[in-house]
């Protein structure tokens, strides 16, 4: 089992009436009314400090991702953050998990291949290369990419990236969307033939096929917990089986919100308002932003409209106890959290690469460190050996880190790796 600390880098101090006053946290929130650059500088530094703290506390990896024009997570360049993290974790067996730089918004997309290669060099071969499609808000609404071309551009850029890392000869790329006459990447990554690739998705059937065909780790970055993801992940594992691939749990990643305290009651006292802030403010945007016409291909459109399976319930009506009960957030004492993560997420969805979001919404810096610390000491060591008895190899983790567990955790270090 590999467990990484994920961070969104949210605005932590949105006004109480934010979701009443503004139509959206994404695309249109007015910077000049809502933010202050000096204060935001503090957020970025807190974010970096929190992830470095997690790295030193014994997490297997640290994750950042890319979003634009929003207050719920604003790292327009995750690679700037990843660069600081790669440097700041020298000497630690921690993966730099970029979840990541978005190909269709990078032009030409070999920019991502170059920057990832830099990160792999700087980190000494500890990069996990997340290659996300990017959300419709970021790619279509903020960056102007035509919804119907979004997936095609992504697929072309994905193939170009993989080739650019591996080609022994200089090559010409005469693509539909990208034309480059002399591709000759400097630098190349340390990891050969290329760094492990993760593809985040949100349940589109076409992405399942893509992930399995390309033999990458499919990651469901969910804010709705394992229960809501069960049908979808079953769909993924069915595609894995149908295409004749082994049911290696490391083919799957999942993001889970987690809040740990001494007791369940104490967790509610400490975290309730931050969890509600996250779901009520940070996820406040019009439904239609997420599905501009043409973004889903026809097959996915049909299945999402007709099944209605993924129609999210209105989180605005839910409160802390609902979020915990439904598993959107796994919160409580270490015993509660251990048990729920193992049963609902790891076993329930068959996940080998777990990401946990420990800084949630308005959660302040000190409390975040406390959450990270408790998770690292009381939860993580116990989960780490979950899949060891089945003997799977995590092909989607940097090779030099596969058999190791970062120091300082004590328990579980010797058993990890599965071979």
């Amino acid at each position: 089992m590999k467990i990484s600390a994920f961070h969104l880098m949210p605005h932590r101090e949105l006004p109480d009436d934010f979701d009443k006053r503004y139509e959206s946290v994404w695309v249109t929130p007015p910077w000049w009314e809502l933010a202050d650059a000096r204060r935001v500088g503090q957020y970025y530094n807190w974010t970096l400090d929190e992830l470095l703290y997690a790295a030193r506390a014994g997490f297997d990896g640290v994750c950042t991702n890319e979003h634009h024009q929003n207050a719920y997570g604003f790292m327009p360049s995750p690679n700037l953050m990843g660069s600081v993290l790669a440097r700041g974790t020298q000497g630690l067996d921690v993966a730099i998990v970029q979840m990541g730089a978005t190909l269709p918004t990078s032009n030409p997309p070999i920019r991502v291949a170059e920057e990832y290669a830099m990160l792999d060099c700087i980190s000494g071969g500890r990069l996990v290369a997340g290659l996300p499609l990017g959300s419709p808000m970021d790619v279509n609404l903020c960056y102007g990419i035509t919804p119907m071309e979004h997936r095609e551009r992504y697929r072309e850029a994905f193939a170009l990236t993989l080739k650019a890392w591996q080609a022994r000869e200089i090559f010409a790329w005469n693509g539909r969307y990208y034309q480059l006459a002399n591709v000759n990447l400097w630098p190349r990554p340390i990891q050969q033939p290329h760094p492990p690739v993760w593809v985040p998705g949100s349940g589109s059937v076409s992405t399942f096929d893509f992930a399995v065909d390309n033999d990458v780790c499919y990651c469901f970055l969910s804010y709705s917990g394992a229960k809501a993801a069960t049908t979808m992940m079953q769909g993924y594992w069915k595609v894995v089986a149908d295409k004749g691939r082994e049911p290696n749990p490391y083919r799957a990643g999942f993001l889970q919100l987690v809040a740990v305290a001494e007791t369940d009651a104490r967790a509610e006292e400490l975290y309730a308002r931050h969890v509600e802030y996250f779901y009520h403010k940070c996820l406040h945007w019009p439904l239609e932003y997420g599905s501009p016409p043409g973004n889903q291909d026809y097959r996915s459109l049909l299945s999402s409209v007709k099944s209605n399976v993924r129609r999210a319930e209105d989180a605005k009506k839910l409160r802390y106890r609902d979020f915990v009960e439904k598993g959107y957030v796994i919160a409580g004492s270490p015993a509660t959290v251990r048990q729920r993560i193992r049963e609902e997420v790891i076993k329930g969805l068959r996940v080998g690469n777990l990401m946990v979001l420990l800084q949630i919404g308005s959660m302040p810096h000190e409390l975040t460190l406390q959450n990270i610390d408790l998770f690292a000491r009381e939860v993580l060591p116990d989960l780490r050996s979950t899949w060891d008895d089945e003997g799977w190899v995590n092909h989607w983790w940097p090779e030099r880190l596969r058999a190791t567990a970062p120091a300082l955790t004590g328990a579980g270090a010797a058993a990890a790796g599965g071979q």
Binding site: T146, L287, P292, G294, L301
Partner: protein, 265 residues
């Protein structure tokens, strides 16, 4: 009404064409919400042979065909192949909204082929001070209100259907979403794709009609067309939003029909 599916673009794009009527040929190019044979076309078909093709990708059973076109350049040639296949050396064109932009592009690309041109709330230009509402980013309820003068009226009802039968609701949603996606491919994120550099080539006598209450593309955009197309006439349609041919079918059919019949510029 006759229905035929014409394969163009080396057979890769199947376009269904509905046609009816007798008299000179009129080609109707639909807007971003797909084609439905409606009272406006019925009315027009009393005096003309109306051909109404479906934009690539919006023909049932052929949703993915639109992926074979990379841009407007391809789309214009695709329509030229269609007109060839229909045996129309020249025709009168009437286009609504997105279809109005396509009609302009066709008339600019091959001026001799377009005998007369009628544009109904066309797109193709952009003014920073008069923003066009991106209909692709509206909820269905908001779209209904923004698109029609009367969101509760008969025309709106025909496009959006009822809310009782869940299968019908889902089918409507898929049809509208895909039609907006397949047309949106050629105009995202701002529907100004260079018509301003080509529109001067239009020689066909042109009529520009605009719904007075168009809340998606304000009627001020009529000026962009009338000042660039020599002799173009503008007429506003009362009691109509962005789709006057649906809300004022008879009136608009008469305006277009009379214009096509006249020999005035």
């Amino acid at each position: 009404m006759t229905e035929q599916t014409v394969a163009v673009w080396q057979g890769k794009i199947r376009m269904r064409v509905l046609s009816e009527g007798r008299g000179p040929a009129v080609v109707f190019l639909h807007g971003p919400w797909g084609l439905a044979w409606d009272p406006f076309l019925d009315e027009l078909a009393r005096r003309y042979t109306v051909y109404a093709p479906e934009h690539p990708g919006t023909t049932p059973e052929a949703p993915d065909d639109v992926y074979h076109l990379d841009g407007l350049w391809d789309l214009v040639f695709c329509y030229q192949e269609l007109l060839d296949a229909l045996g129309l050396d020249s025709a009168m064109l009437v286009g609504h909204s997105f279809g109005g932009m396509v009609a302009c592009e066709l008339a600019a690309a091959d001026p001799r082929r377009t005998r007369r041109l009628a544009l109904i709330d066309p797109i193709g230009f952009w003014r920073d001070g008069d923003r066009i509402t991106n209909w692709m980013m509206l909820s269905q309820a908001k779209l209904r209100d923004a698109l029609f003068h009367d969101g509760g009226g008969e025309a709106a009802q025909r496009m959006f259907g009822g809310t009782d039968d869940p299968d019908a609701v889902a089918a409507t949603r898929v049809r509208l979403m895909w039609a907006m996606g397949a047309t949106g491919k050629f105009i995202w994120p701002i529907p100004d794709k260079g018509l301003k550099k080509r529109i001067h080539r239009i020689t066909a006598p042109t009529l520009v009609l605009w719904g007075k209450d168009d809340r998606l593309v304000p009627a001020v955009y009529a000026d962009e067309f009338s000042r660039r197309i020599p002799g173009a006439r503008v007429q506003l349609v009362e009691g109509a939003g962005h789709a006057p041919q649906l809300e004022q079918a008879e009136k608009v059919a008469r305006m277009v029909g009379d214009f096509f019949a006249s020999s005035d510029r």
